[in-house]
């Protein structure tokens, strides 16, 4: 279907926009006085937003019955994993310059690092097993494995909530969005959505 293809292009373009913007700001020296912190924060936030977008597709499909958007779930999910990898890579490679002693100290003293790292590991597993080959190999277990995305969402929101200085309003907004998206997956809510749709 043509429309699906259009949405796919838009999803790719939208997902890559954040990186393009970041590279633009980097090359024109428009990052903050602490550019590495800037890179970390912006890649992290993009990963979170894309993860929430990916989690929006299923409830949206349930509510509207329009199946055109379903392929976007995987696209957004993969880009989220991509930005999470950048975020992690910047933390380890740029911020701490592969100084494992410092990194392990940082992890012990900054528990939110561990929470974020757990979320990243889940996203990485989901990205690797997102191919058709892995779908075949895991058979019925594939779906169960990919339900871990909900855990990843919770970990990532918690990671963000834990890292802000005092003003938790922004991470809280993401938390509420995630909460709504997860609630919309409850069987009761789902059947209600279908009922409303068919009425």
């Amino acid at each position: 279907m043509k429309l699906t293809r259009l949405f796919k292009y838009l999803a790719h373009a939208g997902s890559l926009f954040s990186l393009a913007w970041l590279l633009f700001d980097f090359s024109t020296q428009n990052l903050s006085v602490n550019p590495i912190q800037d890179l970390t924060l912006r890649t992290g936030k993009t990963a979170l937003i894309l993860l929430l977008l990916s989690l929006t597709i299923t409830p949206l499909t349930t509510a509207t019955g329009i199946r055109t958007l379903i392929p976007l779930r995987k696209i957004f999910g993969l880009y989220s994993a991509f930005y999470a990898t950048l975020h992690f890579g910047i933390f380890v490679g740029l911020d701490y310059f592969f100084d494992w002693k410092l990194i392990s100290e940082a992890i012990i003293e900054k528990p939110y690092v561990l929470v974020g790292f757990s979320g990243f590991i889940i996203l990485a597993i989901l990205a690797v097993t997102s191919t058709n080959g892995w779908k075949r190999r895991l058979k019925k277990r594939w779906k169960a494995v990919h339900k871990m995305v909900y855990a990843a969402g919770i970990l990532v929101v918690f990671h963000y909530l834990w890292v802000v200085k005092s003003d938790i309003r922004e991470p809280l907004v993401y938390g509420v969005i995630l909460g709504v998206l997860l609630l919309m997956r409850l069987p009761v809510v789902q059947s209600y959505l279908v009922k409303v749709r068919n009425a």
Binding site: V33, F97, D99, L102, E105, A106, E109, K110, W162, S166
Partner: protein
């Protein structure tokens, strides 16, 4: 200050120093930067500089100075007293409850470096705090 219109924090911004800290020769009231007039974003017209403390102690754009008998509650103490104390001396050995404060990156440098006690001014200001438990008075 447009940012102070928002309600999350308890504005106005308040900071405090002990008299011996305020009178120390390293403590400055700055009106300029690099030989020029202090730009607004750096805290014009008058900005406090306390080089051995974390940056938030160096309040910008001061409008009032009061001498008080009792230790005032600073802005960040009111926002989160478990995480921000009155002293806020740079101390790599006392981590913030949620993160380490043992390393830093200086502006223009790429690699992290170890943070020094009292931001490198231990010789000059260490005596102000001798005998104090710096874990308690953070």
């Amino acid at each position: 200050m447009p940012g102070q219109k928002e309600k999350w924090y308890d504005w106005p911004y308040i900071e405090g120093l002990r008299l011996d800290e305020a009178m120390h020769e390293l403590t400055l009231l700055a009106t300029g930067l690099y030989g020029k007039e202090l730009p607004n974003q750096n805290g014009a017209p008058v900005r406090l500089i306390v080089p051995w403390k974390y940056g938030f102690k160096s309040s910008k754009s001061i409008v009032k100075i009061e001498l008080t008998r009792q230790m005032p509650q600073s802005f960040w103490m009111k926002a989160n007293s478990k995480e921000y104390g009155f002293y806020a001396n740079v101390n790599p050995e006392v981590p913030h409850p949620r993160w380490s404060q043992s390393t830093e990156r200086r502006i223009g440098e790429f690699r992290r470096r170890k943070t020094l006690m009292f931001n490198g001014y231990e010789e000059e200001v260490g005596h102000l705090y001798s005998g104090m438990n710096l874990r308690k008075f953070f």
